[in-house]
Amino acid sequence: MTSSGLLQIRDLSVTFDMDARPVHAVRHCSLRLDARETLALVGESGSGKSTLARAVAGIVTPTSGSVLLHGHDLQRSSSRREQRRRIQMVFQDPDASLNPFHRVREIVAEPLIVRRFGNRWEIGRKVGELLALVQLDPGLGGERPRNLSGGQKQRVAIARALAMDPELLIADEALASLDASTAAAIAQLFLDLGRRLGIALLFISHDLAAVRCLANRIAVMFAGEIVEQGDARAVLDRPAHPYTRLLVASMPDPARRSLDFELVDAIDRLPAWPDTPGACHYRSRCIGRADVCAAGPSLAPLAASANHLARCHFRDSGTSP
């Protein structure tokens, strides 16, 4: 933590009330993202990755902790409106995020009008530039979302996000509902835009295989906590947390022609484990659990690499499951 970087998430927690019971969606997460960096946040449904992203984007209010952009606290800073604008989000389902009654050029122009970008002529020209940037046929400017393909709609959503001139673009499962070739094209667009415009990218994904192509760095979430983070290659090739190992083993791969029956059996056969406060949250599923796991480990660096962190007492053993 020598330089402040672009984005810092500090000890962030988000707790929801469901039927008067607290649900800890995000627990004490800390992360940093440098300018131009590409980070992927991976985890299963319900692991808290989208809630964490929404807290960063200011859509969800953190229960505790803070989000800093260029060192300014987004909750407190007097310029928070201006700062917020620098973080934009693209969602999984463009049908839910694009107004069906508006034409493409109105959708992209709206944020420009809100930020008082300029007069009508200037806004019209900027919309044209943005559509070119996302490689959308300018002739589609007069269409409504329903007349566009899934990939085209996602390009409109990206153009709208770029209209705010962001420094960080969050893609929340933005490729998940696209077919393989369209997903690849949109992924390439994100990466190209990141590079050309100097935008940092945060990919939220349940798909570890896709993330391998996208990110320099990976953070893995489980039960609201970050359980592992490090360089993408290190996390995927030498996963240190048992959950990451299971994720890697589950990655669809045509080269692997059998299933790891033993691993699945071992997990399936685990007896229930009482949920004690303070214990490791992965313990109920972990085939390597031991008595020491009753005290939850903290996210700590591996002995072999200071940049590679895991929340497991056995992070250095390399042999635990």
Binding site: D179, S181, A184, L191, L208, S250, P254, R257, L259
Partner: protein, 267 residues
């Protein structure tokens, strides 16, 4: 492989849409067989006809579609010439089905347990108490924790993985000869996908398993043989190793590329 019994034999199958804009042939002259203990994967893009083929075998073709030629035989019995009642009885006991989305295939106002119990009572003639015990044991077999609790749960109260396990329990409960799984893991997280595929492969055991999927990586992990469909016909068929190592049809190569996550993208 020769020593095994042929469980399912499909010959010259033709399926056509009868009405409207979709009128025309959907499946043309399709043939394949699956032996007991064998796993065949039918792989193809959406619209290639793989799900329609599965539906025709199970007798679940949607209205407007009809078999216009060919034959389907299960354990030597011709399915297409049977009466609807005969066929339903046979399908209920000898064919198990697992669909992509159990939430839409389970009746939402009935408990999961009662849905399975009804199947056991109808096809095996068990009384309610014995049926309940059978269902609870079946839930335990598919490694559902707290099977008694699952019995009285409604479909929406279960997670996607739990619902798919319950669906597999239902498919296996009457000891079918053929198990058909149509995109069984498409809606699931990767770790749950691994668990469900393991369960299917284990559960299939000595039965014939027909796995329908768009994902060659999934087929590679589970199947002995793979049939690639394209526009209602066979693009190519072979052992899993043949299809993956020496694909001859362009569609197979496309599916192989698609099975790599984000083909061609480099960070």
């Amino acid at each position: 492989m020769n020593a095994r019994l042929v469980t399912l034999e499909v010959r010259n199958l033709c399926i056509a849409a009868q009405e409207g804009e979709r009128a025309g042939r959907l499946i043309e002259d399709l043939g394949f067989s699956i032996a007991s203990g064998e796993v065949l994967g039918i792989v193809g893009e959406s619209g290639s006809g793989k799900s329609v083929t599965a539906a025709a075998i199970a007798g679940l073709l949607p209205p407007g579609l009809a078999v216009t030629g060919g034959s389907v035989s299960l354990e030597g019995r011709a399915l297409l010439s049977m009466s609807a009642g005969e066929r339903r009885a046979l399908a209920g006991s000898r064919i198990g089905m697992v669909f992509q989305d159990p939430l839409s295939s389970f009746n939402p106002v009935r408990t999961v347990g009662s849905i399975l119990a009804e199947s056991v009572m109808r096809h095996r003639g068990l009384a309610a108490g014995a049926a309940r015990d059978t269902v609870v044991a079946a839930f335990a077999d598919v490694r559902l924790a707290q099977p008694e609790r699952i019995f009285s749960a409604y479909p929406h109260q279960l997670s996607g993985g739990q619902r798919q396990r319950a669906m597999i329990a239902l498919a296996l409960i009457n000891g079918p000869a053929l198990l058909i799984a149509d995109e069984p893991t498409t809606a699931l997280d990767a770790t749950v996908q691994l668990q469900i595929l393991t369960l299917l492969k284990r559960g299939a055991g000595s039965r014939a398993l027909l796995l329908i999927t768009h994902d060659l990586a999934v087929a590679a992990a589970v199947c002995d043989r793979i049939l690639v469909m394209h526009r209602g016909g066979v693009a190519e068929e072979g052992t899993t190793a043949q299809i993956l190592d020496t694909p001859t049809h362009p569609v197979t190569r496309q599916l192989l590329a698609a099975a790599q996550a984000l083909p061609g993208v480099a960070a």
